[in-house]
Subunit: 393 residues, 2 copies
């Protein structure tokens, strides 16, 4: 069994990531591998950096793709910006806020946790209280769009609060980048990380990050070395830094970066504003359809992020059976709940190239069939009809 | 400039990695992305694990590809096996031994350094003395094939010494895996890491690792948590561990793993022994050709690793100009010296698919031309002729 080629089925990816990777991006990854110090590759690095600056809306010199998934991007921000004994305020309203706390504890920082309910946005009042109570805190960290719940927090307001109390910010933009408004420079975000497999629709495995001058200064003035050699930005900068002579640090994941570059080109061709509007538009259609099927969102309409939709599993419905059914019948992947919401919700992604009419209609059809199978009382066909109404407006 | 597709030139890769990635592997990476919890992907994980066990020659249950380049594989071994205050004997005979020391220092371990000249193998006598002098050492770490020099150390004998003094071993097999004999179980290697972009001829970005029961026990009995959340094997095991229920840890680099799987299939089809012999054979041809051109190796014949050839730059020759010439004229990449040997050597890789007659002949032709250009006194055409003689034997 082990010695045969692996030919995956074609899936429609509407889980919490990866999203559908377009053929353009897949083909880009299949281009011939060149060396990581080849002059052509250095040129590609410059192009990727410029495109990431465009996507993040920043002029930050230190903008680059970390050679590992989003979790490593998170760790890059934490281990570089924080030193043992540093106090950090961390907003926890889902799985990824909790992961931030893990990162802080492991590096010896002192986390002050601002807890909010899962599915609620980060409370500005609680954060201001924490900032006021902890004048020695050096960093405020929060998740912009929580992938575990689909809630969007007010990143701009949180950054304003941090600035008022002279704190640096670390922002998780894994799910928000390319899907909703994100303006690193205008909002005053000091350090940010994202992923490739969400609204960029590239393959998983790379984490774009960006750091402004204030963050770089903090990194350069560290008293103890960064605990990770692989993620130490003082070293990574030697390779990605932009001086003519690139110093070898580690071997970059060449073909994965071909794919990232292609996905960034697609984002630039579409334009940021149009990409955000596309995500919002298909979210409206999906929302109308789900409502018509009798399904409801777990997150209040005022703070939903359009690209990740948490849907309550109705009483009496076997949620795992629904996912298995839509996967086997429609080759459609939707996500399970994560952490506290496991078994209670489905997470339906409309990320990147997955945010399109074909996917919305397929998803509504598939859920309709799955619910019929389990005898759920709803009006068959109503979901797609309601979505079509939004599309025809 | 930034908004155009990136179409790399076709290079012939004979540097210290990446090596030539065959079309089969490139195409595998372009297959449709599926989810990291998809039943099909779980099956692929099992297949990759089985193929890595085959390549490492091990039955180790904890055998998996780390979702980041070889440097992260090194860090995975160090931060999991060592705790602050642990004493570790590290053999330094090149760049990667030095990097091991960096890893040990940053995690708070106490390194005892066994120094050998760059280009010399690790001295068994010195290691035994260090083991005897440091009965409290818990780990012996060394590089099997040093990519910075092309020297091969006696991994089997080093592991025997470690066992005699009750030390665990961490072995860097980044360049050796698939290129020379490597037998994890028979040699008693406790922890090992490699890379995809050397003798496996997959794209860079993934680091296969393997840990035996003794190593796993040490990891499970840690007193303090692993400093890296991303590389913590206690967590990674939940995803790669082999129990029916795979717990989400981070999003695996799906398409890069398609490529790794394909490259492992190719290794299995060829067979380990045949792959090692192929590397040795083309090394003989290259060696004959280089000798006929009047070029010499920096490493003694008794301890050269065939897949990485360090060649002395003759007096009066501009080494960078030679590399630039062969790149622009022949689209051939050869490597510069690294660290102490920068400017003094070329590193010519014969790794994975790059270990073939076409590459050897092209390289000899290209060097011949480059040296002629710089007025180096040698017998034009002699290099290829000498290699052909080896091939016709």
């Amino acid at each position: 069994m082990r010695n045969k080629q692996f030919i995956p089925a074609h899936r429609v990816l509407m889980g919490p990531g990866p999203s559908d990777v377009p053929v353009r991006v897949l083909h880009a990854m299949a281009r011939p591998t060149i060396g990581h110090l080849d002059p052509q590759f250095i040129e590609l690095m410059d192009r990727i950096k410029a495109l990431l600056q465009f996507g993040f809306q920043t002029k930050n010199e230190l903008t680059l793709p970390v050679s590992a998934p989003g979790s490593a991007g998170m760790e890059t921000c934490f281990v570089n910006l924080l030193e043992p004994g540093d106090k950090v305020i961390i907003c926890v309203n889902g799985v990824f806020g909790k992961r931030m706390v893990e990162n802080a504890v492991r590096l010896g920082a002192i986390p002050v946790i601002v807890d909010d309910e899962w599915g609620a946005p980060v409370s500005l009042a609680k954060v201001e209280a924490a900032l006021s109570d902890n004048p020695d805190a050096v960093v405020l960290a929060f998740v912009h769009a929580e992938t575990s719940t689909g809630v969007l927090s007010d990143a701009q307001a949180l950054c304003e609060l941090a600035a008022k109390y002279d704190c640096l910010t670390i922002v998780d933009a894994v799910t928000s980048f390319g899907g909703v408004e994100l303006d690193v420079d205008a909002w005053g975000i000091d350090a940010i990380y994202s992923g490739t497999q969400k609204c960029l629709s590239a393959a998983p495995g790379i984490s774009p990050v960006s750091f402004n001058e204030r963050a770089v200064k903090k990194i350069q003035q560290r008293k103890v070395p960064v605990q990770s050699w692989f993620l130490d930005l003082n070293l990574v900068m030697g390779y990605w830094g932009g001086n003519a002579k690139r110093a070898y640090h580690h071997t970059a994941p060449i073909n994965a970066l071909y794919g990232l570059h292609e996905s960034l080109l697609m984002l630039e061709e579409e334009g940021l504003q149009d990409a955000w509007e596309r995500h919002a538009f298909h979210h409206e259609a999906l929302k109308a359809g789900l409502g018509a099927l009798g399904l409801s969102f777990t997150v209040d309409a005022s703070c939903r992020t359009p690209q990740l939709n948490s849907i309550r599993v109705p009483d009496g419905i076997d949620e795992a059976a629904v996912r298995a059914f839509v996967l086997s019948r429609f080759s459609l992947e939707i996500g399970a709940g994560l952490g506290a919401s496991a078994g209670k919700v489905w997470r339906i992604g409309l990320m990147g190239q997955s945010a399109c009419k074909g996917n919305v209609v397929l998803c509504l059809e598939a859920l309709d069939s799955a619910l019929q199978q389990q005898g759920f009382s709803h009006s068959a066909g109503a979901g797609v009809a309601a979505a079509e109404l939004v599309y025809s407006e």
